[in-house]
Symmetry: C2
Subunit: 349 residues, 2 copies
């Protein structure tokens, strides 16, 4: 491995929930940043973000030409990615895009480094960061599927409001206050109040009355596992939790598998932490996952309905492993520590 060279890093959507987390994670991991470029829409110009103890002025995405940018993390919505990611890549930046714009594009790798890091090296300038719920699911699923083929997955999510951005976090807080004061709860981000509620509807409806979020879990899981017909169904539900997603997952294998085997395979999986002990009431919760890097997996147990299936429960920080952390890990896999890249290959695209 060559020593990492210092890089010019752009964060697009730098003032958002995920953008802010990009800055924290780049610092925490000592990502080799020579210069940080903070980009956002016109209305954020004039604001500053903090990186490595310094104030960085937010620049206008529309006016930026990306010349000299080595890596650009995009987290400003699909429309902005569609418009600006190709020209950033054209200008020579490695784009890691957190939107859904390119995730099903066959020319754009979809990557969770612990699952398919090798695909990152096939990029043509853009790499897609998967949907948050899908990243968490696949972190637990891929290690199992490598040991014994998984035949079918039934997944129910418990998704934090951070997935809908800062406005949703503010709405949840305002609803809590209104409820305490006996005022009516106002809902703008979601079709109903999320305070003291759960909403079985994430994002928008798609084909067959399945939501887009549920379809992402189906299609992106298939792509990440490289199993075009992988059988997975999901119900995606928003819950009044701040920033970690949880998932109840039923995993049906090709043959009977014991909970002890599943526990062992997950204990060996990078980025996964098994939290699973009935005696000490240890199980994953979004509170415990918040702020951490690992996907917590527990409640691993036999399925009384089928001897080839196992039930489990997982939780992971939606803003970190579900978004910014996974994207930074993708960039690291390509630029800093090119796992599995051929010797002598230039790690900069």
């Amino acid at each position: 491995m060559n020593p990492p060279r210092a890089l010019t890093v752009a964060v697009v959507g730098a003032t958002g929930v995920v953008g802010q987390e990009f800055l924290r994670i780049l610092e925490e991991r000592a990502f080799p940043v020579k210069r940080l470029v903070a980009l956002a829409s016109k209305r954020s110009v004039g604001r500053h973000v903090t990186f490595a103890g310094e104030e960085v002025a937010v620049e206008d995405l529309d006016e930026t030409d990306f010349g000299g940018v080595d890596v650009a993390f995009f987290s400003a919505g699909g429309d902005r990615s569609l418009e600006h990611a190709p020209r950033a890549a054209q200008a020579g930046a490695l784009v890691v895009d957190n939107s859904s714009a390119f995730r099903m594009d066959p020319d754009v790798p979809l990557v969770v480094p612990q699952v398919n890091a090798h695909r990152a090296l096939e990029h043509r300038g853009i790499i897609a960061n998967p949907n948050c719920s899908t990243i968490l699911l696949v972190m637990a699923l891929a290690p199992l599927h490598r040991h014994v083929p998984v035949r079918r997955v039934v997944c129910s999510t418990y998704q934090a409001v951070s997935g809908s951005g800062a406005e949703a976090l503010a709405e949840l807080e305002a609803q809590g206050e209104a409820s305490r004061e006996g005022r009516p709860l106002e809902a703008r981000v979601y079709p109903q109040p999320i305070h003291a509620n759960v909403i079985p509807f994430v994002q928008a409806f798609g084909e067959d009355a399945i939501t887009l979020e549920e379809w992402k879990l189906v299609h992106e899981t298939r792509r990440l596992l490289e199993e075009p017909d992988f059988a997975v169904t999901a119900t995606c539900v928003r819950v009044p939790v701040l920033r970690a997603h949880s998932e109840a997952v039923n995993v049906e294998f090709e043959r009977p598998v014991s909970p002890a085997e599943v526990r062992r395979w997950l204990a060996e999986a990078p980025g996964v932490r098994v939290v699973d002990d009935p005696d000490t009431l240890a199980f994953p919760t979004p509170r415990d996952a918040e702020g951490g890097d690992d996907v917590l997996v527990g409640r691993i147990r036999r399925d009384p309905s089928r001897d080839t299936a196992v039930d489990l429960f997982l939780a992971g920080d939606q803003v970190r492993k579900g978004a910014a952390l996974n994207a930074v890990e993708i960039a690291e896999a390509v630029l800093v520590s090119p796992v599995g890249s051929p010797p002598g290959r230039d790690p900069i695209p």
Copy 2:
């Protein structure tokens, strides 16, 4: 049907969340109450409850002999039911017991009137009210299973804190306040704070690291459907919602079934209301189920992983249909309007 005669009704646990709901429901439904007896433990003696506009003094359960009581609704925990329900039945009362004490007792019918009202008439003095999550699940499942045999169910719950009683409701509120004021959150009822969290652990762990709540869903569903080997698995999760439970349910049938068929069968099912329209963003939520009698079912859609399966989402008031309402309906089925009872049979046990 004979005109209902006026009855002496005892509510055991009258000061609790479910006990209070019993009083409301008996009033709302004009249950033929001649005299209401409010019973609780010694420490509640001296308190009063309100019924039909009158104050009723709480009496000591230990000192009550149940002579002259026609029906006794028990909701004071399994230990009190085990101790006092048999002697209430002995004294001639019909006991409808909301605890888990007798639910798997082959001499005690386990009843959801919309599902197996006929079993209520086989009672020997005690009828068991099922677990709250199980009642809601079976309300949706039984009508489907009658049309096309269901082969397997995977259920993930989103359970309100009311299921843990008034103390849990107070704890959730106190944690909300502590969070707002930046104080540490204290958890006593649950092993972790439930505010802004979900906890994949309800009640206690049982065999095979499956919780007692999850086992109830398995065993009580089998009993209610009269299918001793019915294949069902569940993950039971507590969420920061006040009093309606929700469930994401994957239902696998013997043969392919369309979402339209499922929607039609559920629309015809008593006690079920289909709330399911992507165009108007209509789907069940615990907020909408709160205070109502119906189990709301929606998000009815094909399962992309299996053509014999359908996904759905349901919500129902845990304190009402999940507890007090179902118990009152059981009593009505036996005492007031004996559905399916042979003519001439004395409806009073």
